[in-house]
């Protein structure tokens, strides 16, 4: 770093992705400028083989070390989920992202490797997890002249109500006919554009060439951070292919790029995030920011991924933070006797309604009952295993649930301090709704077959305690002289 002049910028992390062997970060500065910085990244994975002392293990480790694309290997002791037993596994560092799949496929041909870890996460996830960096957060960065990040400090804007000042552009167009193939048919006769803060939408009209050129000119002039449209990826792809068809090199990103068959369109909108209109309208920018902060993934993915995948991402982050390797997605163990299965999985509880017209009826509703049960009873994959880990230590799921629950309740109650209809009210509401969506799914996801940590006992235990709570609440009401006319405990399937 000798002689390198350092620059500083304070701003919000707009987007993160991998480019070559580095992470590319787009930062929106407080002054409203956008700049691209890069950060180092080392691709790696873990493999389980014989122990370090064993002959087979040592031989295999030497063999892996000798692979031309493996830079180094290290033995590390890790607690392996779900049993959390300590085991020595081999940490394999790969020379570049480009060679990652090749190394993995070569390793799979070797006899003696019984397990693989950290192999089905995106590299961008691994980078963000390692950095502990939730995209859209505010940070202070110093960087060299060539854009390499030398230091990154998060500024703790977690309590902010207002979302980052990202500039939004909503666009839509209607092809004259449905596209028959890429670029074929579906001529574009006009594009409507709506910018945040401007009243009416603007309509770009004319010949297809004029419309596309005007759209590019508009984008370059207004320089938006977020491009929003219905089926946005389809729309952008269609736009790029139509432009190519008429011989126009359309530039939608902040760095130049050219459309090539077989290559993803992601490199053609570098520096601008694509968001689906429906998701944007449902969650709002503040809601998408909450999803980014929860799952430690860039906003484009946060808006696109379903709740289960976001929870998976956060679980992986928490697991890595606790020094656990990430098992592959495929593991799921459901081995029980039929008696255990029947008695443990009783589902929800419905007390039959008393039919008729009732007067003076009050409704009791639990506030975030399932998340509270998870936190209070420390229900997690490792605490509910046949050989549970130390109960005094907060489990993986209670940890992330507690944090999310506190955050949701903070915004839910803060919302009431602002007048209804104000921007602040709306932002608080967007944030708490986005978090509620995730909290509702956390408990159901513990019993989902697609969950890599998968311990169905967690799901069953939460259901059991929830049923008990419902019965307790009903009995309190009855003892106080009330009549219970209906009670319901719905479960996630």
């Amino acid at each position: 770093m000798a002689g390198a002049a350092f620059h500083r910028v304070t701003g919000w992390i707009l987007d993160v992705y991998m480019e070559g062997d580095k992470a590319a970060l787009w930062v929106k500065s407080e002054e409203g400028e956008t700049l691209q910085l890069t950060d180092g990244y080392e691709a790696d994975l873990y493999v389980g083989l014989g122990s370090r002392g064993s002959r087979g293990g040592e031989e295999l480790a030497c063999l892996i070390q000798a692979h031309p694309h493996v830079t180094r290997v290290e033995w590390e002791v890790k607690r392996i989920p779900p049993s959390m037993e300590e085991r020595e596994i081999l940490h394999v560092y790969v020379d570049s992202i480009r060679n990652y799949r090749r190394v993995l496929s070569d390793l799979k041909r070797l006899d003696g490797i019984d397990s693989y870890y950290n192999i089905d996460l995106l590299h961008v996830q691994k980078y963000l997890f390692r950095r502990g960096l939730p995209p859209t957060c505010k940070a202070e960065l110093s960087y060299t002249r060539d854009g390499g990040i030398s230091s990154l400090t998060m500024l703790g804007d977690g309590g902010e109500v207002k979302p980052p000042p990202f500039k939004i552009l909503i666009f839509d167009f209607y092809p004259i006919a449905a596209p028959r193939r890429r670029g074929g048919g579906g001529r574009i006769s006009g594009i409507s554009i709506l910018e945040e803060g401007k009243g009416d939408p603007e309509l770009l009209k004319g010949s297809e060439g004029e419309v596309v050129a005007a759209f590019q000119e508009h984008i370059q002039r207004s320089d938006p951070d977020l491009l929003v449209s219905e089926d946005v990826e389809e729309k952008v792809s269609h736009l790029l292919w139509r432009a190519r068809e008429i011989g126009f090199n359309l530039q939608l990103g902040r760095t130049p790029g050219t459309l090539k068959p077989g290559r993803p369109i992601s490199h053609l909108h570098r520096g601008r995030v694509l968001l689906d209109l429906k998701v944007f309208l449902r969650l709002g920018l503040a809601g998408i920011v909450e999803r980014c902060r929860f799952a430690y993934i860039p906003p484009g993915l946060a808006a696109k991924w379903p709740a289960g995948r976001l929870i998976d991402s956060r679980q992986c982050y928490e697991a890595l933070r606790r020094g656990m390797p990430i098992p592959r997605m495929r593991s799921f163990h459901y081995v029980k006797t039929v008696r255990e299965a029947i008695l443990s999985d009783r589902g929800g509880l419905i007390l039959s309604p008393k039919i008729g017209l009732h007067e003076n009826v009050a409704v009791l509703d639990f506030e975030s009952m399932y998340p509270h049960i998870i936190v209070k009873h420390n229900i997690s994959y490792e605490t509910m295993s046949p050989s549970p880990s130390n109960q005094s230590v907060e489990g993986l799921i209670p940890g992330l649930t507690r944090e999310t629950l506190i955050r949701r309740l903070y915004f839910k109650h803060l919302r009431e301090e602002y007048p209804r209809g104000s921007l602040e009210y709306e932002w608080c509401d967007q944030r708490q709704r986005a978090l509620k969506e995730l909290l509702v799914c956390i408990y159901g996801y513990t019993g989902c077959f697609a969950n890599r940590f998968s311990n169905i006992s967690c799901y069953e235990e939460v259901n059991r305690i929830a049923r008990e709570n419902l019965v307790k609440a009903m009995n309190i009401a009855v003892e106080e002289g009330y009549e219970v006319i209906y009670a319901l405990l719905a479960v996630s399937k």
């Binding site: 589902g347 509880l349 077959f449």
Partner: protein, 337 residues
């Protein structure tokens, strides 16, 4: 071991033998799923009762998001009771192993091997819908389909090896490939499954409660078909533990049809109706109870309701008795006065 159906047993030359692989396939509604439940229960019977008197591993391969193809616990409990086995003990002797995706199904042979090694009482492995996860995407052709079939072959081989090495009977079920209406009756999942099976039986429903079974392959018997006059039971499959409300409703409907309508005494019918009302009121408590079958939960609720009525009657009798005492007292005072 018997399959539970004399016709099928005779078709197989006596029933199911240890160390062999039996493949049953047929459409939904053919009774295959009922047969699988029956075979699981039969595995628990003593040899005198035509069983293995061992434990059973029930392997389920199905994605609950795509289709319902799972163990019906209520049916299983009914079959256990019909076989006069102790319910709790029998349910403890059946292991469930589930795979909900192709990748998870690939791990099942290892799970089965661990179970078999850890529990030497296991005599039977029953695989429900062995090829379903690999054939669910009917539109997959070419290389992708070839790869899937190869992976399925690996699973079949590993399961077969585990059972053969431990002298266990392996029973698997699957659906027919293609449209059975067009006469195609091969099992789905490619030829390897059929190749590895010792005996193959195709079951087809031909009437409301009547099925036909065809012996497609057997090491010593010629191919032939028979008609199973009573069919192989229904096809009431749901999730691993079906919702109590569904079980309850099914049980009440069944009782109304088969029991209530047969009651001669009008008073008994009214008593039955009042019990149904009590059960309906306390569905929540029944669903939350620790008994495994809907019928037992209903019996418990009926007993509780009867107790409630008895307590009410006792209170009324006590009340009447005290009033009577007071009247007697006053009468006595009047006479003496």
């Amino acid at each position: 071991m018997t399959t539970g159906d004399d016709g099928l047993d005779s078709l197989l030359g006596g029933g199911i033998e240890p160390g062999r692989f039996y493949l049953f396939y047929g459409d939904r509604g053919s009774g295959i799923d009922h047969l699988i439940h029956q075979i699981v229960v039969n595995g628990l019977l003593s040899p005198g009762g035509s069983g293995f008197k061992g434990k059973c591993v029930y392997v389920n391969c199905g994605n609950y998001r795509r289709g319902r193809m799972m163990l019906d616990t209520d049916l299983l409990c009914r079959l256990v009771k019909a076989a006069k086995l102790d319910l709790y003990e029998a349910l403890d002797r059946i292991y469930i192993v589930c795979g909900f995706s192709e990748e998870q199904e690939e791990e099942l042979p290892d799970e089965v091997e661990n179970l078999v090694r850890g529990d030497r009482d296991v005599r039977l492995v029953v695989v429900h819908n062995i090829a379903g996860l690999f054939t669910a995407d009917g539109g997959v052709y070419g290389r992708a389909r070839g790869e899937k079939i190869m992976r399925l072959q690996g699973i079949v081989y590993r399961l077969w090896r585990v059972c053969a090495e431990n002298n266990l009977a392996l029973v698997a079920s699957c659906r027919p490939a293609g449209d059975t209406a067009l006469g195609e009756v091969k099992p789905e999942g490619g030829g390897y499954l059929g190749h590895k099976a010792t005996a193959i039986i195709y079951v087809r429903r031909i009437g409301r409660r009547c099925s036909s079974a065809y012996l497609i392959k057997h090491p010593s018997l010629p191919s032939r078909g028979i008609v199973l006059k009573h069919g192989l039971g229904g096809d009431p499959l749901g999730r691993i533990t079906p919702s109590f409300r569904i079980l309850f409703q099914g049980e009440v409907d069944r009782l109304k049809r088969t029991y209530r309508d047969a009651l001669m005494d009008i008073g008994c019918r009214r008593a039955f109706d009042s019990l149904v009302e009590a059960w309906g009121r306390e569905q929540g408590a029944m669903g939350n109870s620790g008994v495994p079958t809907a019928m037992e939960a209903m019996l418990l609720t009926a007993a509780v309701d009867n107790r409630r009525i008895i307590e009410e009657l006792l209170r009324e009798i006590e009340d009447i008795r005290s009033r009577l005492d007071r009247v007697e007292e006053r009468l006595r005072e009047g006479v003496e006065g």
